[in-house]
């Protein structure tokens, strides 16, 4: 009986210790936001820690949710892969561009389409053009594939090109979009250039320019967002992202550096 009580006390105190240990997370800087930016954010976090910075946690939850996390204080920094809306700017959010992402338009390698105008692209994704024959390719229904609502890529595409037809297939990562286009001769979709370059898909000129060339229209800023001016750990991380070391990581990810 007594031994048993002692056991109980021991277990209870262990539980208490565990709960007490919960008191503080070991993370020094919490980043949340765009999934498109997630790989870069993780690379930057690794590099930042390696360079002597605090422990950084990066969660890919989406641009809008990242801002929400920042607003509620769940995160110290948000990442977004679109521009801030005027309302968001009025709320006090400050976006600091750390890289440029190029949205590539990809089709199957067997598709003869070489280039599209922005107008054609808009008509394609709004569902106005339904057959590849209208664009001079062999006839066949167009299979659109897009990112999910809330994704920065999708919002940037909607902003730069136009609305997306509701019947469009949706996948929530660049990789699966590449996979889908690789499998289907009639598919067309948009994705980050870094992932598109992994191969298996053909990149289409937009308004006569290939993705990555100067003047290519589908470029969006990737930014770190602070609520008010950056300070403390968030500021240090931002400085690191803009430093030569940080910008090297940007280039490694297939993104365009800002410096």
């Amino acid at each position: 009986m007594r031994a048993y009580t002692r056991q109980t006390v021991l277990i209870l105190s262990l539980l208490a210790a565990l709960l007490a240990g919960c008191g503080r997370s070991s993370v020094g800087l919490r980043i949340a936001g765009s999934t498109s930016l997630q790989p870069l954010a993780e690379m930057l976090a690794e590099g930042y820690q390696a360079a002597g910075g605090a422990r950084v946690s990066a969660q890919g939850v989406g641009s809008t949710a990242g801002l929400q996390a920042l607003r509620t204080g769940v995160a110290d920094l948000a990442t977004i892969s679109r521009r801030l809306t005027p309302e968001e700017v009025r709320e006090g959010f400050r976006a600091h561009v750390i890289a440029w992402d190029v949205l590539a338009i990809a089709v199957h390698p067997s598709n003869p389409v070489e280039g599209l105008t922005l107008a054609e692209l808009r008509r394609l994704f709004s569902g106005e053009i339904r057959d590849w024959a209208e664009l001079g390719s062999p006839a066949g229904r167009v299979h659109l594939i897009s990112r999910e609502a809330g994704s920065g890529s999708r919002e940037a595409f909607r902003e730069l090109v136009g609305p997306i037809h509701p019947l469009t297939a949706v996948q929530n990562s660049n990789g699966v979009i590449r996979l889908a286009i690789r499998n289907d001769p009639a598919a067309v979709g948009y994705l980050s250039l870094g992932v598109a370059r992994a191969g298996g898909v053909k990149l289409v000129r937009v308004d006569g320019r290939l993705p990555g060339e100067p003047g290519y229209p589908l470029v969006r800023p990737l930014s770190l967002v602070t609520l008010g001016p950056p300070s403390g750990e968030a500021r240090a991380f931002l400085m690191y992202a803009l430093s030569p070391a940080g910008q090297r990581l940007v280039a490694d990810e297939g993104l365009l550096p800002v410096r």
């Binding site: 509701p166 019947l167 949706v170 889908a180 009639a186």
Partner: protein
């Protein structure tokens, strides 16, 4: 009563109360969070960017993928159950049964992963199109619920008195006739329970279908069209959602819970019918 006994009784009762409150808490949390969006769910278009939160396409997606997978898995699963209960030698059954049990234990994300890497490209190659489709979802889901149906059917068929089997054989029935005219009707309530159980699992499955279904928020018009389920929609968009969008997702969760409770209730009735036999 001993004092410690009373204490123990009170403490255990408290634990039981907490544990059984789980389902109520879930219902409460989901409903409270989703309440304001409830009136917005009755529409035919799900397009959060335009403030449209109609769950009809998602309901249709869930219903179609569930029914489609059961259409494939129920005959195969009951057939496998019959094979294990009536045809296979004990040694063969001893190999097939653990294999099925193992299959039931494989995490759903692995099924989704395999579907993404094997089934989706296969569909794209054979039927054309993206491959991400209702058909892919049905196939993956069918494989996932097959072991459940097979195991529960086997139990139900084994529960049929062996004397009945012998009686039917003694009348000159072929194995097929015994199965079709005697075993399956006699095990009907157990088999129904198997189907309803599978229905519940299929309806609630998230990751595997999310990965292969293509997730277009529209009612599919052919098995090769993409579709989106209630569950997949939550997993897909929850992370991004704020405001009304977030409420709508919670409300759709409440709807899913309601559907699921109905199915569970049906399962209990079916199982109850068997117990009464």
């Amino acid at each position: 009563m001993d004092v410690r006994d009373r204490l123990a009784r009170a403490a255990l009762a408290a634990l039981a109360a907490v544990a059984s409150a789980g389902v109520l808490l879930i219902a409460l949390a989901v409903t409270v969070e989703g309440w304001p969006a409830l009136p917005h769910l009755f529409g035919a278009v799900w397009s959060p960017e335009d403030g449209k939160f109609g769950v009809l396409p998602l309901l249709a997606g869930s219903a179609l993928v569930t029914l489609g997978s059961l259409t494939l898995a129920v005959p195969a699963g009951i057939g496998l159950g019959l094979f294990l209960a009536d045809v296979a030698s004990p040694r063969l059954a001893g190999v097939v049964r653990p294999a099925l049990q193992g299959m039931a234990a494989v995490p759903s994300v692995v099924f989704g992963f395999l579907g993404l890497n094997l089934i989706v490209p296969w569909i794209s190659r054979v039927f054309g199109g993206l491959g991400f489709s209702l058909l892919a979802g049905c196939l993956v889901l069918a494989f996932m619920v097959l072991p459940t149906i097979a195991a529960v059917s086997e139990d139900a068929l084994r529960a049929v008195d062996p004397a009945l089997r012998e009686g039917a054989y003694a009348l000159g029935a072929t194995p097929g006739q015994v199965a079709w005219r005697l075993l399956l009707p006699a095990a009907k309530s157990g088999l129904t329970a198997a189907v309803v159980l599978a229905l519940g699992r299929a309806l609630g499955e998230t990751m595997a279908v999310l990965m292969v279904l293509g997730n277009a928020a529209a009612v599919p018009r052919s098995p090769l069209d993409p579709a989106r389920t209630l569950t997949g929609n939550i997993a897909l968009e929850m992370a991004y959602a704020a405001g009304r969008h977030r409420e709508a997702l919670f409300a759709s969760g409440a709807l899913l819970l309601l559907l699921n409770l109905a199915v569970t209730q049906a399962a209990r009735l079916a199982a109850g019918g068997r117990a009464a036999r």
